[in-house]
């Protein structure tokens, strides 16, 4: 049975469940340790929530291909696989949230940031998402909402794994940081998303951040006004959304759920088309239709397997 992913700002119950579930996953330790994953320092158990951080960083560190790759295409970003890999990641999070919430009908909410982006810079900062009843506001560390860190409370939300300036995973113990609207004043808006939907090409040579097509547009490497779409949201939120360990901020998944919704809207318009094909050059290994997507908590899947997810979930609206 298919579930329906709702707008986080229109379904308070879904957002509250999401926050509750993330905190539960943050305090679930199934066995893997920092040592198992090559993270230096003392040997500590890694929570299920933090495994998503490690997974993201490791996928980003996996260059595809290893050599002759000046533009840095990796196993999850900067190439055709970007929407597919994140769809896989989101679904794994959703299934785990259903498990810890014991709600098989829980559906991941999305943050329709392009709708917020229609307002003035000041209005964008006042979105209900950034309130204590949403996911909390700005700060280093944040001081409102469900993800505030309290050093005296071991169950409070704590950033335990992040990356250093060289991109290496490291242990930490601190509160979540956000710097909303600091590095860039505005979110993407409806014009930006409409421009992406107009593109009939999914992706194309050189299959990198220099490509034309929907994938590169939605990832955010195209444009003359700074970072676009997905990238722009990371930069606008700032703080822990800036480094490779960005899944530390629960807004990461709300952002990517909206990216996934935009991809779904694009496929409704242009068909469930994915390139490069399975028989494309080995230079594109990791990004072709039937290549395995880098996995950590589950068996792998392929881009082909995630193109049509209608039996798993749908969105309440594809008006992006």
């Amino acid at each position: 049975m298919s579930i329906t992913r709702p707008n986080a700002l229109k379904d308070a119950t879904a957002l509250a469940d999401y926050c509750d579930g993330v905190k539960k996953l943050k305090n679930e330790f199934t066995g893997p340790t920092t040592k198992d994953l090559g993270i230096t320092g003392s040997v500590e158990k890694i929570s299920t929530c933090d495994l998503f951080v490690v997974w993201h960083v490791n996928a980003m560190m996996t260059m595809t291909p290893v050599q002759n790759n000046p533009e840095g295409r990796n196993a999850a970003h900067r190439g055709p696989v970007f929407p597919a890999w994140h769809r896989f990641m989101l679904r794994q999070l959703e299934l785990n949230l259903q498990r810890v919430l014991t709600k098989s009908d829980f559906a991941l909410p999305y943050w329709d940031w392009a709708m917020d982006g229609e307002g003035s810079p000041e209005e964008q900062l006042k979105s209900g998402l950034w309130t204590k009843d949403g996911i909390g506001g700005s700060g280093d560390p944040i001081s409102s909402g469900p993800f505030v860190f309290d050093p005296s409370d071991s169950s409070s939300f704590c950033v335990r794994i992040d990356t250093d300036s060289n991109g290496n995973l490291q242990q930490s113990k601190r509160g979540l940081a956000r710097d909303l609207g600091h590095d860039i004043d505005t979110l993407p808006n409806r014009t930006d998303t409409a421009d992406a939907l107009k593109l009939s090409l999914y992706d194309g040579p050189p299959w990198t951040v220099s490509s034309s097509g929907f994938r590169n547009q939605v990832e955010g490497w195209v444009g003359t006004t700074g970072p676009g779409l997905h990238n722009r949201v990371h930069v606008w939120v700032g703080g822990d959304m800036s480094p490779a360990s960005s899944p530390n901020d629960p807004v990461f998944f709300l952002n990517h759920c909206n990216v996934d919704r935009i991809w779904e809207a694009w496929m409704q318009k242009h068909g469930r088309v994915y390139v490069p094909a399975a028989n494309a050059s080995n230079n594109l290994k990791g990004h072709r239709l039937n290549d395995e997507l880098a996995s950590l908590l589950s068996p792998p899947t392929t881009p082909a397997d995630v193109l049509d997810v209608g039996t798993q979930y749908v969105y309440d609206s594809l008006d992006v």
């Binding site: 320092g41 490791n58 290893v66 533009e71 590095d183 050189p206 990198t208 700074g226 397997d305």
Partner: protein, 151 residues
């Protein structure tokens, strides 16, 4: 189209797959092999134009207060500098990148405190190799505003 029944995770399956996949990831995670020792990175871009083959080799060796930056640097065909440690940003130059690193990771570049001061011997208020809550305070510096292009 998904044809097989969907895999439903359990606490046990997570432990099992992390162990299994961690080994695979360690093998495939190739970033370290991209480094060229002592922080020098050479990026080779190639182009074919009107029957001519163009090759541009660019070498980066970035230090901040003498500390070598070893993170993976990328260079787009349009000449934008990008960096895995700040994966959603694009910089007009490597100098801009270095400034952004100082803004975003102040604890990595803190000047050594004077002997006897409370934070002497620790890195960004860290203890035992673990970063502590105060370490990201300098992130709120407005100076990093310069790294994003105005819209």
């Amino acid at each position: 189209m998904t044809t097989q029944p969907e895999f439903l995770p359990t606490a046990e399956s997570i432990a099992k797959y992390v162990k299994q996949n961690a080994r695979k990831l360690a093998k495939s995670s190739s970033m370290k092999s991209m480094m060229h020792g002592k922080g020098v990175q050479e990026i080779i871009r190639q182009d074919d134009y009107k029957g001519h083959h163009v090759m541009v080799k660019t070498r980066y060796e970035i230090t901040i207060d003498g500390q070598v930056v070893t993170g993976h640097i990328m260079l787009t065909n349009l000449g934008q500098v990008q960096y895995h440690g700040l994966p959603n940003h694009s910089f007009d130059s490597a100098v801009e990148l270095a400034r952004a690193l100082i803004d975003n990771f102040p604890e990595d570049f803190e000047k050594k405190a004077a002997p006897g001061s409370p934070r002497s011997g620790s890195k960004g208020g860290s203890m035992g190799g673990m970063k502590m809550p105060s370490s990201k305070a300098a992130k709120s510096s407005k100076s990093n505003k310069s790294r994003s292009k105005p819209r």
